[in-house]
Symmetry: C2
Amino acid sequence: MSLTEKFDSVTVATKANVYFDGKCVSHGIVLADGTKKSVGVILPATLTFNTGAPEIMEGVAGSCRVRLKGESEWTVYGAGESFNVPANSSFDIEVAGEPYHYVCHFG
Amino acid sequence: MSLTEKFDSVTVATKANVYFDGKCVSHGIVLADGTKKSVGVILPATLTFNTGAPEIMEGVAGSCRVRLKGESEWTVYGAGESFNVPANSSFDIEVAGEPYHYVCHFG
C-alpha cells in the first residue's frame, strides 16, 4: 500500500470548497508544474458527485463505498487505494463511521 | 482589508484534521522556512477551542463571533480580520449561516 501523505512545493488556496453543507470539504492545490489537485475529506454521509474532467480519487485515510454511474454494485476503497471516474459522469459515495480523506487528481 | 488568498511553495498534509464531528476541518501546511500553519473551515456551530501555542486566527471568508477566555463580550470578525488567542487558553467561536474560512498562524 502506498499513499500520498503530503505534497511539497505547492500553492494552496486558503478558502476551502464546501459541498453538501460541509459533508465534503476540500482545499485546492497547484503543483509546481501547474497540475491542479485537491485534498479533502468526506464526513459520514451518502453523496452523489458529478464530474467534469475525469478524476482519480486516492484514499489517504478511512474508507468508502463507491458506485459509479451505470454500475449496480458498490466497491469498497480504503487508504492507499484509488478509483477512476470518467469525465462528465457521476458517482455515489458512502462514508460511514470515520471520515474518508482523499486526494483528487484531475485529468 | 487584506487577506491571504493562497500560500505558495508550501508542503500540505493530505490527511485533514477533523474536529467536533467535522464542524471544523483543517489541513496543515509547512512554509518553505519551516513555519507551520493550518488552513481550515468552521461550519455553522458554536465551539470551544483550547490553545497550546498562541494562535492568530485570520479570516479569509465568512465571519464569526468570538469570545476569548475570561471575556464576557463577543466580538465579530470577518474576512481580512484577525484575532489573537494567548497560549494555554481557550476561545468560544460561533459561526452562523455561511462557513467561516480561516488561516491559523501559530506562535
